[in-house]
Symmetry: C2
Subunit: 329 residues, 2 copies
């Protein structure tokens, strides 16, 4: 049995809607146990009505919620009864809970995870990574995608290692790592990028060199290492490019009629689903003692199902041990 904790509060959608993802996850996986953090009187009746196996979950009632307007630096001290802080504390205290899932405030979740769960070792800076679906249907992991803005070269090297460990936990053997730069050659990049390139060349990672923004969705690589600022620019700009062209398709469909119009609208919707990096999956905080998976604030039941699957896979494949191996901890 793999045990995880899931926080259903603080997102845009209400708890009962997000709960549908938990129910689907439990029903498809007999090896999963979920501590569900939320409002018991809302959640328990639904779980009973849906005949969810009571041996696979426990509802933990929470009387407070972390909001997006709360100061991320303070909630771990001031909101002990919130679903987020109660969930992270439970993970910290309970050895056999292996991952935490939440769609609440990103800042609060990151700070609280670092303060309560603590880094795997004192010198390790946790990283926020996410996966991008490439055109060929494979995923590439972007590490860091926004947590660490001012980074020296050795930190970016550690993001590459955690990205590599993540892809190993997802079943990729010897993940191919690339470094984001403004040119493919080793000689290209800022002073920081050139230093990082050198560290990556000297490391035991399967480092294939630099990558430019133009080829992130077509490259034969598994991990893009970068500082959190550039990673965030990359992630959001990709969204800008894909959504703008998808909107062009929708606009064009309006000039058509009948079946031709319907087919093209359906095609545009399928692309939105494929390339919507915000809602399709989650960002993963690694480098703290247990992996923390963050769903987007606008998450639906499907998103919750999807990020619980990620949490399960990471736990099942011992992501924490894989990270320790990379760092020789």
């Amino acid at each position: 049995m793999i045990k995880i904790a899931v926080d259903l509060m603080g997102a845009d959608k209400n708890e009962s809607l997000l709960l549908s993802g938990v129910i689907d996850a439990i029903k498809e996986n007999k090896e999963l146990f979920v501590y569900i953090l939320g409002t018991e009187e809302v959640l328990s009746p639904i779980l009973k009505e849906e005949n969810v196996n009571p041996d696979q979950y426990e509802v933990i009632n929470c009387s407070d919620v972390v909001n997006n307007t709360d100061n991320p630096m303070e909630v771990f001290r001031t909101k002990a009864d919130s679903s987020m802080i109660k969930g992270i504390s439970l993970c910290s205290k309970t050895e056999d809970i292996e991952a935490f899932v939440s769609c609440g405030s990103t800042g609060a979740l990151m700070v609280s995870s670092m303060m309560i769960l603590r880094p795997l070792c004192p010198t390790l800076t946790p990283v926020l990574l996410c996966e991008l679906l490439k055109k060929n249907g494979e995923y590439i992991c972007l590490s860091d995608c926004g947590a660490n803005l001012d980074c020296p070269a050795d930190k970016i090297l550690s993001f590459a290692k955690m990205g590599s460990a993540y892809m190993k936990a997802k079943g990729v053997e010897n993940p191919k790592v690339r470094l984001l730069s403004n040119g493919a050659e080793d000689s290209k990049g800022t002073t920081l990028i050139k230093e990082t390139n050198k560290l990556l060349r000297e490391s035991s990672l399967n480092f294939l060199g630099n990558i430019e923004g133009s080829t992130v969705l077509t490259t034969d690589a598994d991990v893009i290492a970068t500082d959190g600022y550039s990673g965030n620019v990359l992630l959001k700009t990709l969204e800008s490019g894909t959504t703008t062209v998808i909107k062009e398709i929708s606009d064009y469909a309006q000039t058509l009629e009948g079946e031709e119009k319907e087919k093209l609208e359906a095609f545009a919707s399928s692309l939105t689903k494929k390339y919507d990096y915000n809602t399709q999956g989650g960002a993963v905080l690694l480098g703290v003692k247990k992996p923390v998976i963050k769903g987007h604030g606008s998450a639906t039941g499907d998103t919750v199902l999807s990020i619980i699957r990620i949490a399960y896979t990471l736990a099942k494949n011992n992501i924490v041990d894989k990270i320790k191996e990379e760092f020789g901890i």
Copy 2:
């Protein structure tokens, strides 16, 4: 009469093909005079055959060419007879030539322009900027898009000023400036971004705050200020996003038949043209004594026409004076 110099060598396409853009530019604009740098025996017969007004051009024969494999740091010393160096030198020596256009090696063009044309004042760092076509058909200027990788805050402020001067020369009154960051709030960003935000707030520019990558093609702004590294990541990632989705449309079109298929293929082609930032226009080097407009290596006659129009507009509207005004030079 506005005089500019155009280098037709060193690009992927041959001189006679690129010349068609020069011929179109001259024929559409009686106020334009072009010094054409290339192989006289190739160019002169075509210009005569096409009945181009001999009062609007002069061919300057060049016996050497700058290649992409040449060391950018050396060509301004070693290739004096190349079309690029001869053209830049001509601009430097001839007061009434107001702009230089080339589709040759970017690195060589930038270094040679800085060495021969020289910065407008010793403390000014030249910037490479480009325009992005937004979904609504308006343009936004990205400054810097790749020339200056390691930048302190005051340099990014100067890129904002040159971007603003550029948009003024293009007819935009009081251009709206935004700063690329990982969040819209002033408090978001790296230490560098926060410092730059402060300088922009204190400046006389029409600064509207930070912008995230996700809204670059939909924002109500005219200039995005950024360091050259992040600007380059943004530019290339945008390309990745748009071309990936356009390729999806082309693939989908192959599953259709007859007129429906043809219409969708034509639609995909129109989008490629609209969102291909590499070939649609040029990057502009500002901050040297005369503007230098760089077409992509894969430029066609249409690209040359398009970048000559930019050069003409910048010269006609006194871009150099507008930059001097911004900096109080």
